[in-house]
């Protein structure tokens, strides 16, 4: 009787220690998960905020009034001519110096 009680007691103590360790581990794990969720939620809020700003920006950029203004501004530009297009291998383009401001800037940079 006393031997069995002794073992049972020992077993219980070990079991208690094991269970205590499991509970401690679980508690730590939950705490870690909570921290992760907190961080993820903060990231989520930031993403929400970014999406809000982007949606507002998208609405601003796609406002029919703005698009119409842009169209009116570009409408006066002349259509590209056939002579303006070609391939770099075309003989008439070889040695041609392009004099647009961007090309000049590019050339100056190279020089």
């Amino acid at each position: 009787m006393s031997t069995s009680v002794k073992y049972l007691c020992l077993l219980s103590i070990l079991l208690c220690l094991a269970l205590g360790a499991v509970v401690f581990w679980t508690g730590q794990h939950v705490h870690q998960l909570n921290t992760d969720i907190h961080i993820k939620n903060q990231q989520l809020l930031k993403e929400h905020e970014r999406i809000r700003v982007l949606r507002a920006e998208w609405s601003l950029l796609n406002s029919p009034k703005r698009l119409d203004d842009l169209m009116e501004r570009k409408k006066e530009q002349e259509n590209p001519q056939q002579s303006q297009s070609g391939q770099f291998t075309d003989p008439q383009l070889k040695g041609t110096r392009i004099n647009t401001p961007a090309a000049q800037q590019h050339n100056e940079g190279n020089e």
Binding site: M1, S2, V5, K6, L8, C9, S12, I13, L15, C16, L19, G20, V22, V23, T26, G27, V30, N34, I37, H38, N41, Q42, L44, L45, H48, E49, R52, V53, R55, A56, W58, S59, L60, N62, S63, P64, K65, D68
Partner: protein
């Protein structure tokens, strides 16, 4: 022989000692056993407690990713609550108003070491700030002064990069309107403390601050822009001071566009001049002129059967007491109801109104909502100006739109009731509006199908043969009525200040959309022969809107418009004397039939 006794005695002692030892061990053992039992019970209880706790933390917890709402961070129940105010969107989900996070700059003057240098650095990034004032702010004897609220992200970064110790930032939210002036009168604006102070922001302030989801409007931003552009073109072309354009879905009562010009920047509402922040479509109360003949004609048809053939004597001016009602270009003949409407005869319309009678006409105005302020979710109009005492004179003048003044929304509301399906359907601007008792309204019929059909034909006739020709768009069977009313000044009617309007619908065989354009104080042009009437000013603007709507909403034109018109107007043609179709210029050069109502001012009536 003693020793054996001794031995026996010793043995007995040993036995007694053994027994005594056994007794001590036994009691010790007994004590140990009870302690072990106690420990066992303690361990068992601890074990059970731990087991319960383990079961609780593992099995009883919901295995679901905690949502942002229930997490322990400062996340609120919804985005709208996070930002203090719900977004506003149009019917297609285009953002009209939203709240964005911004940073505001403040300073702690006690921590500013070199105020002059700091002010100079700040002004490099915020050049609109006054240098002297800034410096005085930075040298104040307190711990907090606002420098600039609502910084752009770039300004925030540049100011932060300055690294001045006394400069700090506060995170705030700010209302942002991506469509800017395009929807300014409808959406309105908020104050710096984010309270609605104009438009829907004001009318629906409580709803916007409490709702979790965005507020969806019936507005279509594409049609809104089309109306805005057409109105601006008309205002510029005729050098007008302002105007209104409204588009509505006749079958549902949904407002698709509401424009008032001039407008304002909703981000700087406080800086807008009073004339710009005045909302003409719901706050402006105007005498509408000839467009009111739609309602008096409908009232006559509803009361006296649905025939447009009844004849009235419009050969001479109508004498009412000491007043006389004239036609601008009198036909000087007997006219049918169809002819009266086509030629916009004041005499004929007044005679029809006389047949209807004062009480019945007032009742008609009442059921059309023309006698009281119109209030619905998101819409709040000014009260109409009505005669305080209704006499016969008031009845007759109100029949052609004088002596009674209403807002453009009143006009549109009454129009869709008259030419839709004859049911009492009110205008609305907010989707999912539970307060709007649609079902009850639909069951209430105001006009019979026949009355509505005759009205639709009369309106189409006004475009094919009348003054509204410039509103016509081939294949879309536009119908409508022009109106030109002199405005009232301090000394009565002003013949050089007009309110020129057109209200119409399309396609008239089954009207789906209604368009109203009003232009305030247009000036005549050389190419309009000096005229600035509704037919010249507002009808072409309405046509522009209808043409845009056709492409925006993918509305196909009728296959054979001429044949469709002939079929549609066949029943009216016998009652029209002048059947020849003249060009718009031919008709309009004769001048818009209009009134000279100088003899009456409703405000002077008792």
């Amino acid at each position: 022989m003693t020793p054996p006794q001794h031995t026996q005695t010793t043995d007995m002692n040993d036995i007694n000692a053994h027994i005594s030892l056994q007794g001590q061990q036994g009691s010790l053992k007994k004590a140990m056993t009870s302690r072990l039992r106690f420990m066992l019970y303690v361990c068992l209880i601890a074990y059970i407690a731990l087991a319960i706790k383990l079961y609780d933390v593992t099995m009883m917890v919901e295995f679901e990713e905690p949502k942002i709402e229930i997490s322990n961070i400062e996340a609120p129940a919804s985005q709208s609550i996070l930002y203090g105010r719900a977004d506003i969107m149009d019917r297609n989900g285009v953002l009209l108003a939203t709240t964005l996070p911004v940073y505001s700059l403040f300073a702690d003057p006690k921590n500013i070491i070199n105020a002059e240098q700091v002010a100079s650095d700040i002004r490099k990034i915020l050049p609109d700030l006054d240098g002297e004032r800034l410096e005085s702010l930075l040298t104040r004897n307190n711990r907090f002064v606002w420098i600039k609220r609502g910084l752009t992200p770039q300004q925030h970064k540049l100011l932060n990069d300055l690294g001045h110790h006394g400069l700090q930032f506060k995170r705030e939210t700010r209302r942002f309107y991506p469509q800017g002036t395009l929807t300014s009168h409808l959406i309105g604006a908020t104050s710096t403390d984010k309270k609605g102070i104009a438009g829907l922001e004001f009318l629906l302030n409580d709803d916007l601050t409490s709702r979790a989801s965005p507020l969806n409007l019936t507005l279509d931003i594409r049609i809104q822009y089309s109306a805005y552009k057409a109105l601006q073109n008309a205002i510029t072309r005729f050098n007008a001071i302002g105007g209104v354009a409204v588009v509505a879905d006749i079958q549902t009562g949904e407002l698709l566009a509401t424009v008032s010009a001039p407008d304002f920047d909703p981000h700087h509402f406080g800086n807008a001049p009073a004339k710009n922040s005045f909302n003409r479509f719901s706050r402006g109360v105007y005498e509408m002129g000839s467009t009111f003949k739609i309602f008096s004609t409908a009232a006559y048809l509803a009361q006296n059967g649905t025939s447009a053939s009844d004849i009235f004597d419009a050969s001479k001016p109508l004498q009412v007491g000491r007043f006389q009602i004239n036609d601008f270009h009198a036909q000087k003949r007997e006219m049918s109801v169809a002819d009266i409407f086509l030629h916009s005869s004041n005499i004929g319309t007044a005679l029809m109104a006389r047949e209807v009678g004062v009480e019945d006409m007032r009742h008609q105005f009442k059921i059309l909502g023309l006698n009281s302020a119109y209030a619905s979710s998101g819409i709040q109009t000014e009260s109409p100006l009505l005669p305080r005492v209704w006499r016969e004179t008031n009845l007759l003048t109100s029949s052609y739109g004088h002596g009674i003044a209403v807002t453009p929304l009143h006009l549109m509301n009454a129009f869709i009731k008259t030419i839709g399906d004859g049911t009492n359907r009110d205008l609305k601007i907010v989707f999912n509006d539970h307060n709007n008792k649609d079902q009850q309204q639909i069951t209430e019929r105001l006009y019979s199908q026949n009355t509505v059909k005759v009205m639709q034909k009369l309106l189409r006739l006004g475009v094919t043969h009348g003054t509204s020709q410039f509103a016509d768009l081939d294949g879309y069977q536009v119908g409508g009525k022009t109106g030109t009313a002199e405005k009232i000044g301090p000394n009565g009617y002003m013949d050089d200040k007009l309110m020129s309007s057109f209200i119409g619908a399309f396609p008239m065989h089954d009207p789906k959309y209604a368009v109203l354009v009003m232009v305030d104080e247009p000036k005549g042009r050389e190419d309009t022969y000096g005229y600035a009437t509704g037919g010249w000013v507002a009808a072409p603007a309405a046509r522009e809107i209808i043409a845009d709507m056709a492409s925006i909403l993918s509305l196909p034109p009728l296959d054979n418009p001429k044949q469709a018109d002939d079929e549609f107007l066949k029943s009216l043609m016998p009652y029209i004397k002048d059947k020849e179709r003249r060009t718009a210029a031919q008709i309009l050069r004769r001048g818009e039939p209009d009134i000279t109502p100088k003899f009456i001012d409703f405000r002077e009536q008792e």
